[in-house]
């Protein structure tokens, strides 16, 4: 059993045992945090399996050079620069869109290096925004002192023609430069990320990286517990704080998987479990696994974040929280509040407001934990109304719990509509924990409207 397996680049750490798998050779992954089993083909095409507590996906982003036919950062330019008949070299950054900070850093290093080794060449550096990470501020200053000419451009005043000529016009400067043009790269998700995402069943960001844009996943969590994403696998900003993120990730693996603090709250009753795998599919954290001995599903406590989605979706009622009581039948106006957003906002509202509004409040761990039958139960009385308050998608602790909650609400509303039971009595709204004033206003409006 390894502490961590790196998919892609390996990072050595004295305190963690590790193994490396080339992403192209990875075949399957099963298991959860604490016990992942990864199958891969080795260089001799033999099939192997490794067991690991955690996985780090560390795959470089692909670098694409905008405006084809020009020089790239990777290329060794020594020969070209030694034999050039021109007296300049040009670097262009941000050609199509703002480059991430790592590109600014590499560009400055490149410019300084060329200036040092080829002092006879003028270095022109065209950019739209210099971005600062590490010592970039100092590097930028140093580069200017060395005589590198920095020229800022906007969309309208720099153009590279099909014949690879750069034309730059500013009030006091008009330049036409042909040849010796180095284009800073644009970062794109590596093609192999698709495959890795499929194997680990990871949701991707809009731009195709392996970290969905959710604030709870910062800095390097992937959504599936125990699987971390670093650098170019995480996104274009994944390189900006890479040293810190590597340190964080390795320390988190050590603290969360080797010597973890475990709270056992949710349990699956193996006598009720029908192995339908609903809970497995619904869980956003990869916290459900199959207990081979009992032939039932079980909860991986390292991964469980306590959203109760599995409880809500279990058709057999097999999952429960130890020590919880049955809910009593509610009457009138009821509000279900997510403990990560509306509930903290409500707490801050103050006793006076809370007493004045006098609402029945149920605290829920996530909007995804609402059950259709509970909703129908409450709304079966035509006098009753129900308000469900969840989070915004990007700040949902359970990754897309708000969406799942919304789905349930939409379906219940559609059914109510069909039964002619006034679906307007059921409302779903998104809030953040800081929106206390919004919440107060909304609740009083909702109450007034309901009465």
């Amino acid at each position: 059993m390894y502490d961590v397996v790196f998919i892609g680049n390996d990072i050595k750490s004295p305190s963690l045992s590790s193994f490396q798998i080339n992403p192209a050779q990875l075949l399957t992954a099963r298991g959860e945090i604490g016990n992942f089993y990864l199958k891969y083909k080795d260089d001799k095409e033999d099939l192997n399996e490794v067991e690991t507590r955690a996985v780090v996906i560390n795959i470089e982003a692909e670098k694409e050079t905008p405006a084809t036919g020009l020089l790239s950062f990777e290329r060794n330019l020594d020969n070209i620069l030694r034999n050039t008949r021109k007296d300049y070299i040009v670097i262009v950054q941000d050609y199509n869109e703002l480059a991430p900070a790592i590109v600014s850093k590499e560009g400055l290093e490149k410019a300084i290096d060329i200036r040092k080794r080829f002092p006879d060449l003028n270095v022109y550096y065209f950019y739209r925004s210099m971005r600062f990470i590490d010592n970039n501020d100092r590097r930028f200053e140093q580069a200017r002192k060395m005589g590198i000419v920095f020229l800022k451009y906007e969309r309208d005043n720099l153009k590279i023609t099909d014949s690879r000529e750069l034309i730059y016009n500013r009030e006091d400067i008009n330049l036409k430069l042909k040849d010796n043009i180095i284009m800073a790269p644009e970062l794109k998700p590596a093609a192999v990320l698709d495959r890795v995402a499929r194997i680990f069943n990871l949701r991707k960001s809009e731009k195709g990286y392996l970290q969905p844009e959710n604030i709870y996943l910062q800095p390097t969590l992937s959504g599936k517990r125990g699987v971390y994403v670093l650098g170019g696998a995480r996104g274009t900003t994944g390189y900006s704080n890479l040293t810190d993120e590597v340190e964080f990730t390795l320390n988190e693996i050590r603290n969360k998987t080797i010597d973890p603090v475990i709270e056992q709250e949710r349990v699956v009753d193996d006598q009720k479990c029908i192995l339908c795998y609903n809970c497995y599919r619904i869980c956003n954290h990869g916290a459900i696994e199959r207990d081979e001995v009992l032939d039932a599903m079980k909860i991986n406590y390292l991964a469980c974040q306590g959203c109760n989605a599995c409880i809500a979706r279990c058709p057999a009622g097999a999952i429960s929280i130890a020590g919880s009581e049955d809910k009593k039948q509610s009457k009138g106006l009821k509000v279900m509040m997510c403990e990560n957003s509306a509930q903290p906002a409500w707490k801050k509202a103050g006793n006076k407001v809370r007493t004045a509004l006098n609402l029945e409040i149920e605290e829920i761990p996530c909007a995804c934990s609402i059950k259709k039958e509970d909703l129908f139960n409450h709304l079966s009385n035509p006098e009753n109304r129900l308000l469900i308050l969840g989070c915004f998608e990007e700040s949902c602790k359970h990754i897309n719990g708000d969406k799942r909650g919304q789905q349930v609400v939409d379906e219940v509303k559609a059914t109510l509509e069909k039964l002619d039971l006034n679906p307007e009595r059921l409302t779903f709204k998104r809030l953040s924990p800081r929106m206390t004033a919004d919440l107060e206003y909304f609740l009083s409006a909702w109450k007034e409207d309901s009465l």
């Binding site: 900070a101 971005r131 501020d137 800022k152 959710n214 810190d244 990560n340 957003s341 800081r434 206003y441």
Partner: protein
């Protein structure tokens, strides 16, 4: 039983406290004010129709955990004036409400006393900025924090008037020799970009322009691109304005168009100034007391390895960081303390 002392009850200190307390350590938070939360307490949610990933929700989660933890003790209105002892068994001399005490048996000390906003510094507000139509980002924040999302077309951010145009000016207290900050504070671009989106959300008709030197990344998981700015109808002007002219109707900013070299001007109802992140002046005291090094800008650096001395630095005492960066840095500090503790327990 030995304890871990955390100096500063802002988000850096609280994050480390929660992480350490959850692992069964006894934690003492020493806070100079009467409340925990620090700078983040003054921020408001920057969601529009969608979340703009300002990360404040993470903070509430942590504050909830602090209040429910049995292993965390908080000393309010407390300052530190003495430090003695040896590695693994330190004593701090403290002062609470004028009374002197000492806390001993401290295994580790985490300094998490944060940063100072540029506007809070004495040199921070030049004469030209004194006008109630010129706001620091933190002053606009106050209005955003108190906003109410009324859907009936009323003014929702209470500025006392409804601005038709807003201009953001970036890089105040940053990247300027005279302002004692040659560095880029890195967080203000993302911060004001979110502010601009909130203003646009509540005043869809408002004209927004941003004076910038270089647009920085917007944080851990959000990058800002020119197309994002264009999509949100935020105009960009690449320079710092040279002069602000005030009259009864509006404010006029004069600037040099970088393309044409000509002086142009833009009139606006409201100016919002970004604020650089500056070192807290208490850092000098920490440097003396705990034998730490101060960098060119007043931020702290450890001289020896933190594991050796048992004195750790968390969050913005080390330099500018955003909320998410501060939280992950502090978590990492807590992990390192736990690792060091396990090592010393196992005699390694």
């Amino acid at each position: 039983m030995s304890k871990i002392a955390i100096v500063g009850g802002g988000i850096a200190g609280l994050t480390a406290a929660v992480e350490l307390a959850a692992a069964g350590n006894r934690v003492l938070i020493i806070e100079k004010g009467s409340e925990i939360g620090g700078n983040v307490e003054s921020y408001g949610c920057k969601a529009v129709d969608i979340c703009t990933k300002c990360n404040l929700c993470l903070v509430d989660d942590i504050i909830n955990d602090v209040s429910s933890s049995k292993n965390i003790e908080i000393l309010y209105r407390t300052s530190i004036n003495d430090f003695r002892g040896k590695t693994g068994d330190y004593t701090l001399g403290i002062e609470t409400d004028g009374e002197l005490y000492s806390v001993d048996n401290l295994e580790y000390i985490v300094l998490a006393t944060g940063f100072t906003k540029w506007s809070e510094l004495e040199t921070g507000t030049p004469e030209a900025f004194k006008d109630n139509r010129i706001l620091w980002a933190s002053e606009l924040e106050e209005s955003i924090k108190n906003r109410i999302d009324r859907e009936n077309g009323q003014d929702v951010i209470d500025l006392g008037y409804s601005p038709e145009s807003v201009v953001f000016i970036q890089c105040n207290g940053s990247r300027n020799m005279q302002e004692k900050a040659r560095y880029c504070s890195r967080i203000c671009c993302g911060y004001n970009y979110r502010m601009a989106r909130v203003l646009k959300h509540y005043y869809p008709e408002v004209d927004i322009n941003m004076f910038y030197m270089d647009i920085q990344e917007g944080g851990f998981i959000q990058d800002i691109s020119f197309s994002d700015l264009a999509e949100n109808d935020i105009g960009c002007i690449n320079c710092k304005p040279v002069r602000i002219e005030k009259n009864d109707n509006n404010l006029i900013l004069h600037y040099e168009n970088q393309l044409t070299g000509k002086t142009e001007s833009i009139a606006t109802d409201l100016i919002v100034l970004s604020e650089g992140v500056h070192a807290n002046e208490v850092n000098e005291k920490w440097a003396d007391l705990f034998n730490l090094q101060i960098d060119d800008y007043g931020f702290l650096m450890p001289i020896e390895s933190e594991e050796q001395t048992g004195i750790f630095l968390a969050g913005t005492v080390k330099g500018p960081k955003d909320i998410a960066g501060t939280i992950s840095d502090s978590k990492n500090i807590a992990y390192r303390i736990k690792n060091a503790r396990n090592l010393s327990k196992s005699g390694g």
